[in-house]
């Protein structure tokens, strides 16, 4: 056993000395490899943690949302709908929601204006999300004016800024009183953006939804389970960026493996011959090469994964921000709660470490089984 360990250490000594001969090239390879792992691991950790966060946070979303569609567009709920819903069995609570978008030309940002159902906001005051406050440089007590869609200027005082910790759901929110909302957006009393329903028995939800679409053929119900499902599958592998990244990584790896597979130069073949001539077995040569692949890929995996962890959970995935931001000005500052899927990590490990180790071994195999006597002749 001791001799076995000692032997592996010798093989590692040799393989490292060999690698050190082309230091720049091999360090470059390691760097590229690490970068690939870093990217893949970052995407993996980020998307998983985000999905988990969504699942955890959005369980509080309304059970059913009823939206009216007019000519393929979401339209206001006219008066009378709320009352008619009251006749559907199983509906425990119903409430008209008022919300909408506002484009702020000052900082070119989009806000979500919303009337909170549970709290009263004094007229002329606003509660704003921390992201929005940051974009406009607002503090409590500040005055802010918006030009409404009708052209009138409205001024508000900032009453409170929503907690910084909750930016992931509230960064762009502007909470406003119902009266202010209606006059700002010129929405007549009795009209609502949509209707939120709660259903007493969770098993009834689908029934209620079916009844709703039957009773309001111009409307569509959106169930909480659908909201959750939407975020469950957000950024899955099939989606644009993940697919693009994955194919990029696979391409890079293919180039890599090709370099390895075809890179067995005459010099390397000769070296293998020498090793065999001086008493190395075919197996020793293969083990030596295995160590090369294993050490390089293990180093790349460990460093890449570590960097990805720090990036996603300690540095707020800052490299993804420009991608996720798009044209938007407002981007939430959020720190994901680190939920790591061990199975995913294992998969990543498997798919980054093993193919590389294999790619280094295959070409060597052919050279290593050759007769060693060729080295006797120059």
């Amino acid at each position: 056993m001791n001799a076995w360990i000692e032997k592996q250490k010798y093989l590692i000594d040799f393989t490292l000395s060999s690698l050190a001969r082309r230091k720049a090239k091999n360090l470059g390879l390691l760097l590229v490899y690490t970068l690939i792992v870093f990217l893949l691991a970052s995407v993996m950790l980020f998307t998983h943690a985000l999905r988990q966060a969504a699942a955890e946070v959005l369980v509080g979303a309304p059970e059913v949302i009823l939206q009216r569609m007019v000519a393929g567009r979401h339209d206001l709920i006219p008066p009378g709908y709320l009352e008619r819903i009251g006749r559907i069995r199983g509906v425990q609570h119903k409430e008209g929601r008022l919300w909408g978008y506002y484009y702020d030309p000052v900082v070119k940002a989009n806000y979500t204006f919303m009337v909170p159902g549970n709290q009263d906001i004094a007229a002329g005051t606003l509660l704003v999300g921390a992201g929005m406050a940051r974009a406009r440089g607002l503090a409590v007590g500040n005055l802010i004016s918006f030009r409404s869609y009708s052209g009138k200027l409205f001024s508000f005082t900032i009453a409170r800024i929503l907690p910084h910790d909750s930016e992931l759901v509230s960064a762009d929110l502007v909470l406003i009183s119902e009266a202010d909302f209606r006059s700002f957006f010129a929405i007549a009393p009795g009209y609502f953006t949509d209707i939120a329903l709660s259903v007493a028995n969770p098993l009834e939800v689908r029934n209620v939804a079916a009844k709703l679409s039957q009773q309001f053929p111009d409307s569509r119900p959106i169930l909480r389970e659908e909201i959750l499902r939407t975020y469950e599958s957000i950024f899955n592998w099939r989606e644009g960026i993940v697919l693009a990244l994955a194919s990029l990584a696979i391409l890079a790896f293919a180039i890599f493996a090709w370099e390895k597979a075809s890179g067995l130069s005459a010099d390397e073949k000769r070296e293998i011959g020498i090793l065999k001539a001086i008493g190395w077995e075919t197996g020793d040569v293969l083990k030596m090469k295995f160590w090369e692949g294993a050490l390089v890929s293990l180093a790349a995996f460990l460093i890449g994964y570590l960097a990805a962890y720090l990036h996603v959970f300690r540095f707020s995935s800052s490299l993804f921000a420009p991608v996720l931001k798009g044209w938007a000005v407002l981007y939430p500052r959020f720190e994901l709660s680190p939920v790591i899927d061990g199975f995913q990590v294992a998969t990543l490990f498997f798919f980054t470490v093993f193919p590389y180790a294999a790619a280094t071994l295959v070409p060597i195999w052919r050279a290593a089984i050759a007769d060693p006597d060729a080295v006797m002749r120059g």
């Binding site: 032997k7 001539a277 001086i278 008493g279 190395w280 060693p372 006597d373 080295v375």
Partner: protein, 232 residues
């Protein structure tokens, strides 16, 4: 003791360029002797050495090493025998570029997995014996031809083999270095090693420490005869 019986070696058998490098070699090499093979280029000396050293297998014929018939052994066993019994000094030295002199010397011992410290010391003392201690950390390509050969000798000795095989050891050396090599050979013989070498160099084959010179031609052994007659 090494015994060869009816050794044939053919290359590219069955193809157009089939070539018989050895045509029936019968030979008995005693231990603790210095034996030299001599012969014109292409006479099969290198081929014979590689068969003796278990680097390749004869097409037919039997090789006995001590009490053991090794012709039929699988590759694994041949490697074991090679590593325990033989030390090779190649004509082109065949050192591994980019590694230090010391690492090159240690290489044949790596698969044995012995104690590193002990191996390190042994390699250093071998290099010291060959007056190379000061160059041990130098990369092999920075050494002169003579230094490289001494590294190759140290490497051949690291596993303390019984039999040293040297193919044209002086071909790349000037007279001074060749003389030095003969002195090293003498030491090896003095500690009881068997040495088998090939050479055309009169400095080698005429040296007093060479006990036996075997002439070869066209893959056959020409009965040892005085040089004058052999040339006629």
């Amino acid at each position: 003791m090494i015994e060869l019986k009816g050794i044939h070696k053919a290359f590219n058998t069955g193809r157009e360029n089939e070539f018989h490098a050895l045509n029936g070699i019968d030979l008995h090499l005693p231990t603790q002797r210095v034996t030299a093979f001599r012969g014109p280029s292409g006479s099969g000396k290198t081929t014979l050495l590689s068969i003796i050293g278990c680097l390749s297998r004869p097409t037919s014929g039997r090789v006995r090493l001590g009490e053991r018939d090794i012709s039929g052994l699988p590759e694994r066993f041949l490697t074991h025998i090679r590593r325990q019994t033989f030390g090779f000094i190649f004509q082109q030295f065949n050192l591994i570029k980019g590694l230090s002199a010391l690492e090159n010397v240690m290489l044949p011992a790596y698969p044995l997995g012995g104690n590193w410290r002990a191996l390190h010391e042994r390699a250093e003392s071998l290099l010291g014996d060959l007056r190379l201690a000061h160059r041990r950390a130098a990369a092999i390509e920075h050494l002169s031809g003579g230094e490289q050969q001494r590294v190759a000798i140290a490497r051949a000795l690291i596993n303390d083999p019984q039999i040293i095989i040297a193919d044209e050891p002086t071909a790349n050396l000037d007279t001074g270095l060749a003389m030095e090599f003969m002195a090293i050979l003498e030491n090896l013989h003095a500690v009881g090693k068997t040495v088998i070498l090939t050479s055309h160099d009169p400095l080698v084959v005429d040296a007093t420490i060479v006990h036996q010179v075997i002439d070869m031609r066209d893959g056959r052994i020409v009965t040892p005869v005085p040089i004058a007659e052999g040339c006629a």
